[in-house]
């Protein structure tokens, strides 16, 4: 594992990114001032409960916040260019699917039922590569279908003829076949059976080695993240609580109280426990966020200062940053 300081090339840098939803009830700070980077060839895991802003971060990186959301500040830097300044046309021409692609949550259930897999992929390919011929596109599609472990005849099949695992493979192939540098995978294994889930995880690991792409793996499940992510970034209520390497997080030595609680709520199969921990309470209201630390209400080791002032994220050891007053 490379730490900060040993310079590695960065595939993507997010700095002070904010994405707010401007609703009639008020401004929802869904993603509030987050910074992280993605190194070339690494998988960064983004975890958190539902509503913590994981998916919103993914959309923000692609420059397509869902209305009434707007990017309210910050930078998304890829190849020395800040893509938040790009226009919609520029984003479509230069960024989406060429440099960054995304496997959307539940995308496997949204494949157009009247298109064959081939039609579907062909349309995407030709839209992004206007100059390409049909033969070239066909070859590329077959190459990537094979790469994700599907046979050539899938090209002529309709989505309803495929199983969940096969559909997810088609979606992954579609995200990869324009050869982007970065792939955002949003809950790619949720809703699949355990066995299929493990097979898809193996596939993603294999593709990572073969294609050396950088990826952002979004999930709510810390157990899945342990299998796939080189580094983990824990989000809570729109903010980053902790970033650390796989060993640092799952080694469980120094942790943010939230990460500690999340890990405690994830059952281990081979260790019999009598009680599982849970996190009492609910995440804060993002329209009127608390003044201090976002996790104050649910924290088991809170102090007086936590209520007054939110902690900033600070590096406590190489490659490991925590936003908690306990580590100041």
């Amino acid at each position: 594992m490379k730490f900060k300081g040993i310079s590695m090339e960065k595939a993507l840098v997010i700095s002070n990114l904010k994405l707010y939803y401007y609703t009639s009830a008020g401004v929802v700070k869904a993603v509030d001032d987050i910074s992280f980077h993605l190194e070339k060839g690494e998988t960064l895991g983004l975890v958190g409960e539902s509503g913590c802003g994981k998916t919103t971060t993914g959309f923000a990186i692609l420059g397509m916040p869902t209305p009434p959301g707007k990017i309210a500040g910050g930078k998304v830097i890829i190849d020395d260019e800040d893509i938040t300044t790009f226009s919609e046309t520029e984003l479509r021409k230069k960024i989406r699917w060429k440099k960054i692609s995304m496997v959307f949550q539940g995308a496997m259930n949204c494949l157009t039922p009247v298109y064959t897999v081939g039609n579907l992929m062909m349309e995407t390919y030709l839209e992004h590569r206007k100059e390409a011929s049909n033969e070239e596109a066909y070859e590329r599609i077959i190459k990537y279908l094979n790469l994700v472990g599907l046979s050539d005849d899938i090209y002529k099949r309709y989505p309803h003829e495929l199983s969940g695992g096969m559909k997810q493979r088609v979606v992954i192939a579609t995200a990869l076949f324009l050869e982007p540098q970065i792939v955002i995978l949003d809950e790619p294994t949720t809703g699949l059976d355990v066995v299929v889930q493990a097979q898809i995880l193996n596939l993603i690991k294999e593709l990572k080695q073969k294609l050396s792409i950088s990826s952002l793996f979004i999930t709510h499940d810390l157990a899945t993240e342990a299998e796939i992510a080189d580094r983990i970034c824990v989000m809570y209520a729109g903010k980053i609580m902790e970033i650390g390497t796989n060993e640092q997080i799952y080694g469980r030595e120094k942790l943010h109280p939230y990460t500690e609680k999340l890990l405690g709520a994830t059952p281990l199969l081979h260790k019999k426990v009598n009680e599982l921990y849970f996190i009492p309470g609910v995440p804060p209201d993002l329209i009127n966020p608390p003044k201090g630390c976002m996790f104050y209400d649910r924290c088991h080791v809170r102090m007086d200062i936590c209520k007054e002032e939110g902690p900033s994220i600070k590096e406590i050891e190489p490659g490991h940053s925590i936003a908690c007053w306990r580590y100041k």
Binding site: G165, Q197, T224, A226, Y250, A265, P267, L268, I279
Partner: protein, 341 residues
Amino acid sequence: MEKNNDFLLEVKNLKKWFPTQHGLSALFLKEKTYVRAVDGISFSVKRGETFCIIGESGSGKTTTGKMIMRLLEPTDGDIIFNGKNVSHIKGDELKEYRRNVQMIFQDPYASMNPRFKIKQVLAEPLVIHKIGDSKKYRDENSKKLLESVKVTPAEEFMDRFPHMLSGGQRQRVSIARGVSLSPALIVADEPVSMIDLSTRAEILAMMKSLKRDFGLTYIYITHDLSTARYFADTIAVMYLGKIVEIGNADDIVDNPIHPYTRVLINAVCEPLPGKVKKMKEINIKGEIPSAAKIPPGCRFHTRCVFADEDCKTFPEPDLMDIGNGHYHSCRRSDDLPKFKF
């Protein structure tokens, strides 16, 4: 041998076959074809135990739950509840049976009438079974139930509509509705699979304490082995409509025999370091066959990496006892490598 009345529920050779032809074609075609969703399963549930049925989608676990609930009529076999055969009861008898057996569904968003207030949701079982005639009694009862599942302040939540509650709160209300008639048995079909991780553990812990308070017996249907180990006493592993292995929860997880159980256990992700560089070992081929075309011989042989010629042709093995209440149905169990995780 334990005495018969130790068992709250006994299921004997239970089957549910769905015909695949309907209407005229069903009359004229000589050979009828069926989807054999549940294909002859037997098990017994002790009083006060948590019995877990685990399997992939399509393994027949929900169909089994629905048959126990008598939402589906069994094609063949017996369901014996409290010493009484309930597999084909009707009318008042069935209503009385359902008072004793309740179900918690997977989706807390879909299992509640959106136009009912929470107090109406909770009073509905009492109305159906004509328990307590005054509104006041029913409101009091709803309040008590909400408090027992920790949806507080109860007075406030009673007048809310389901859409005003979070997923976790709704599932608690479903559980409260499940226990409202003080049933003996609750069939919980994936009760936490749609709940956020941070509250999942809380709901399971609450279900455990309700079990103590109300003297419940659970049938817990899930695909998630790690919660099953925490929550269940006995685990039955289903594959394509049959139980392939059954035993004490710890035995099943630590010492699985059947190749399918092994695959399920190896496939579980655990939050431990040092797994990124390694591939997961998944000893299984292909995908689950259709329940309309169950393979001959051992039904798992098409996907099993240990299967030999005999597995394809020999009649399907019955469950074999290996002691301590642990049964499995693999005829090659002696030739299998030692299980490691």
